[in-house]
């Protein structure tokens, strides 16, 4: 659809009920709203929900919503199969058998809330709120989870637990705030309502697709197919990926990088662009600091050095760097892989430096600065509400690594939590509240170890639409959670602000917001004054003031908290008003280019960026305070052809994990018949030559093993990976298989997190190496012990000391650390 205007002109607006929020059509009630998971993703696309008798019957994309103009991925197109799935949890339930037996008894919401309130108050009295851990998943309204944790449970310990090294998004967020003072995304015209027809917009001349497959992941509030429209409008492609994708097959340069070495490539690009003077001198002079220091530090990172590290020929590094630097505008579409390497904070800084020195920040078709429309918050950060004594016990990285860096996140550090769970240090975790996280099937690195640790927690409540492996393994109570079409909520992340309207219901399921409100009313009523979820959303959209602002006066060193304090929402529409005007509202801030020239970035209205110095800090002042080197660098993965050449004899292949597929969002959607029709089993992609060498055929079950554990997937032979690299999927469990132990829905069978390691992070506890491991592969034989059996019945794969990381490999083997 290279011609967007033609598309708009061809639309029959009446047929799609322009201006209506709800209408009748062929016996259905149709609701115009936005989707947010579960199940789904980060995006919140405009949808038309067709319901009959309070049941979702079908879903269509809304062509009148500028966010996607009707296009939907298969996850929303099968929303009816998820919403009406017979295996959903219908009522609150309490455990009646032992943990692991999957025996439950229906209880009322009153009984559930009474029990929970009693348990929480007991923990408060005996151990303090800090002994409660709130675990949440990703996507949808995870922002309010902070409010829930801080204000209702009174705990500072909120985490995507199991996720070592904050290795998703946070490194990119902070790696961008530090040099630029704002976050940035690729300009595909999404800032303004007129989209591709905005006369100021031009598509990127070249898009660097780096460390993600945006078409399948639709991650971080970004619709990947926007970029395909840009390509239709003329954008060229540079693809940086260990795997060939749609992008690589159409790219000017497909740089098939060795996993975990992206920072080396970024440093070499900086080297070329600086030394060949391809940078934008005016922009650097006017708007940047630290150029000299950056230029000096990059001298050692020559293209030939980077060739050795990344496996990309030096000539390709040079040519691609030239193309990026000399094409105007140019944009870098970065993704999750940036965060899942030890050099995460360096790599993200390097990318921002590249965007800045080439003059591509906040220009049409470049990387535009982005904020939540109308400054609407996801929810104010409320840590000061927690009693000081409990707040100060937050499980930060200091507890694990003793680093003296300043804390810069709002969440607890996963490894510090693991230590507390394993050895009650510095205090025990007495209760877990798991709000829709399929912990051991998905986010938890070192899944077998996290599983063992979770079993030590005396009381676990799990709110989820489905009974999942973690429910069976350790939950004592289950709460049924609503699917997206059953919720009144809103979406304030980036732009536009969107409403989410309830169109149907399912037995006694409640939304996260409703659960939070009901529980909050009991535990801290002053902070939960709303009569229902809609009033709560009205407050979130238009107000966000708190009953006791004095609590927030004390200055904190936590940047997130400080910036949240000065944030005032300018949005004026209530939830129903927003729904009735079409469900979305664009703002001015995000639709303007070159905001730094217009005094739009800094709180005092002066020109410049929102950093301390007002300029792009190519060498950010705050990095050393966070314990980080302020110029880009490369750290080898802990186990790799360069860091452990000896070990490569035993584990000769590089293992990358977590590539996305069309059908699934992390561990979601495994119960959806259409998804499993298209994608029935977990697939490990192996180059045909490699497969032949190891005697593996298409569709064979294969073991993937490292020095830590093993897992089994089905072989997919394809030249998209090179001969030294294999790529395994994540998030698999098998809702169709046995729930009870040792099966746990087969959650350990295909789980790459049998092989990932806790306590292995980059500097200051940020970044991990889960996308850049090493392994060997061999065919599965009938009768081989399955990982569930190994983990649950046979003591796991390896020995470890509670609360500690792993010794080096030799010691590990000599001391008989491995059981398998």
């Amino acid at each position: 659809m290279a011609d967007y205007k033609e598309f708009l002109e061809g639309l029959d607006r009446e047929a799609y009920h322009e201006g209506e929020f709800q209408w009748k059509e062929d016996g259905y009630t149709v609701t115009r709203t936005n989707h947010w998971s579960p199940p789904g993703c980060h995006n919140s696309c405009g949808v038309l929900l067709y319901t009959k008798d309070d049941k979702l019957e079908r879903v269509e994309g809304d062509p009148l919503s500028p966010f996607v103009n009707g296009r939907l991925c298969v996850r929303c197109l099968t929303l009816d199969e998820a919403t009406n799935n017979p295996t959903r949890i219908k009522y609150p339930m309490k455990r009646v058998g032992e943990r692991g037996e999957n025996k439950w008894e229906r209880i009322s919401w009153d009984e559930a809330f009474d029990t929970l309130e009693k348990k929480i108050r007991e923990v408060w009295d005996e151990y303090g709120g800090n002994s409660i851990l709130l675990i949440h998943g990703t996507g949808r309204n995870t922002g309010p989870m902070t409010y829930f944790g801080n204000c209702a449970l009174k705990t500072p310990n909120i985490a995507t637990y199991g996720f070592t090294g904050f290795a998703c998004y946070l490194p990119r967020l902070f790696g961008s705030f530090a040099p630029i003072g704002d976050y940035h995304i690729v300009d595909a015209s999404e800032g303004s309502e007129s989209r591709y027809a905005n006369p100021e917009f031009e598509p990127p001349g070249v898009i660097v697709v780096w460390g993600n497959e945006p078409l399948k992941s639709n991650a971080d509030g970004y619709m990947g197919h926007w970029l395909v429209q840009c390509v239709q409008m003329g954008s060229k492609i540079i693809s940086i990926d260990p795997q060939l994708t749609w992008w690589g097959a159409r790219a000017e340069h497909f740089l098939q990088i060795r996993p975990g070495t992206d920072a080396a490539l970024a440093c070499a690009w900086l080297n070329v662009i600086i030394n060949e003077e391809l940078y934008d001198k005016d922009f650097v002079d006017c708007w940047c600091t630290g150029f000299e220091a950056l230029a000096q530090a990059m001298q050692e990172y020559t293209p030939s050095w980077a060739e050795e590290v990344t496996g990309i020929p030096a000539d390709d590094i040079i040519a691609s760097a030239r193309l990026y630097a000399t094409t105007k505008p140019a944009a870098i579409q970065w993704g999750l892989a940036m965060d899942q390497q030890l050099s995460a904070m360096s790599l993200n800084l390097a990318c921002c430096d590249l965007m800045a020195i080439t003059g591509n920040l906040d220009v049409p078709g470049g990387n535009i600065l982005i904020r939540n429309a109308y400054n609407a918050t996801n929810l104010p950060l409320t840590e000061p509400v927690i009693p000081k004594e409990w707040r100060e016990k937050k499980l930060t990285m200091k507890y694990t690594f003793g680093d003296d860096c300043e804390e810069f996140t709002t969440h607890a550090a996963s490894d510090a939590v693991l230590k507390a769970m394993e050895c009650d240090e510095p205090y025990p975790i007495r209760m877990c509240w798991i709000e829709t996280s399929n912990t051991i099937a998905n986010p938890a690195m070192d899944a077998p170890r996290v599983y063992e640790a979770m079993k030590r927690v005396p009381f676990v409540v799990n709110a989820d639409p489905f009974i999942t492996p973690i429910s069976v393994a350790c939950a004592d109570m289950l709460l049924p959670v609503s699917m997206s079409p059953e919720r009144n909520s809103c979406r304030t992340w980036w732009t536009p602000v969107r409403s989410i309207s309830k169109a149907c219901s399912f037995y006694e399921a409640k939304s996260d917001e409703e659960i939070m409100l009901d529980m909050g009313r009991r535990l801290n009523p002053e902070y939960f004054p709303w009569k229902d979820d809609i009033e709560m959303m009205d407050w979130l959209l238009t107000d966000c003031s708190l009953p006791d602002p004095d609590l927030f006066k004390e200055k904190s060193t936590n940047l997130s908290l400080e910036s949240a304090k000065v944030n005032v929402t300018q949005f004026k529409l209530k939830h129903h008003e927003l729904a009735e005007r079409g469900g979305y509202a664009y703002d001015e801030w995000n639709s303007v280019y070159r905001k730094h020239e217009k005094g739009m970035c800094r709180p005092d209205g002066s020109i410049g960026f929102a950093t301390l110095s007002g300029r792009v800090e190519l060498v950010p002042a705050v990095y050393p305070i966070w314990g980080l080197n302020p110029t880009p660098y490369h750290i080898e993965p802990p186990e790799s052809p360069l860091s452990t050449p000896e070990l490569m004899k035993e584990y000769p292949l590089v293992l990358t994990t977590g590539a996305r597929s069309w059908e699934f969002f992390h561990s979601e959607n495994r119960q959806i018949p259409t998804m499993r029709e298209m994608h029935g089993e977990p697939l490990v992609t192996i180059n045909p030559k490699t497969a032949k060498h190891y005697g593996i055929g298409e569709g064979d079950y294969v073991w993937i093993e490292n020095d830590h554990g093993r897992f089994r997937q089905k072989a997919k032979l394809s030249p998209v990976v090179n001969e030294q690299t294999i790529s395994a999927e994540h998030g698999w469990w098998f809702p169709e298989s046995d729930a009870e132990e040792p099966s746990l829905f087969g959650t350990f069978t295909a789980n790459p997190n049998n092989c990932t390691k806790a306590f292995e992070t980059g500097p200051s506890g940020v970044g991990t190496s889960i996308k850049c491991m090493i392994c060997k592969i061999y065919p599965y034989k009938e009768g081989d012990v399955l990982p569930g059996e190994q983990v649950i019945k046979r003591g796991g794969f390896i020995k470890y000391t509670p609360g500690e990381g792993y010794p080096d490999y030799d010691e590990y083997k000599q001391n008989g650390y491995c059981y398998f």
Partner: protein, 112 residues
């Protein structure tokens, strides 16, 4: 005559057309009104593309496709076209669609 025009240059193989159509026609497992084909991936060792990769997707209509007659009569797009994520599908009168075929990319015209 109505038809569906595909610009297979940009089709990403996202399966949205397949699933949207299954929902419209109420087709069970294994049955489709439109089905995706995949060509590649391979790297050319020979010819004018030597050194380049090939990986092309394109959907094919089955006997079950009724061109979404009912939807179209009401002014709506066919389900597959409406949901095509890559925006590489066009629906309309064949003579209009043919005019889009500009000789610059790989177009496929589907009719029934």
């Amino acid at each position: 005559m109505k038809g569906i025009l595909i610009n297979s240059e940009f089709c990403t193989g996202c399966h949205s057309c397949e699933v949207a159509c299954k929902k419209e026609l109420g087709l069970v497992k294994g049955e489709f009104g439109i089905k995706l084909t995949e060509t590649g991936p391979w790297k050319y060792d020979s010819g004018n593309q030597a050194g380049n990769w090939e990986w092309t997707w394109a959907p094919v209509l089955t006997k079950a496709c009724d061109m979404c007659e009912e939807r179209v009569a009401r002014g709506k797009m066919p389900m597959c076209v409406q949901h095509c994520q890559a925006w590489c599908m066009y629906h309309g009168e064949v003579e209009d669609l043919v005019k889009k075929m500009d000789g610059k990319s790989r177009w496929i015209l589907l009719t029934r």
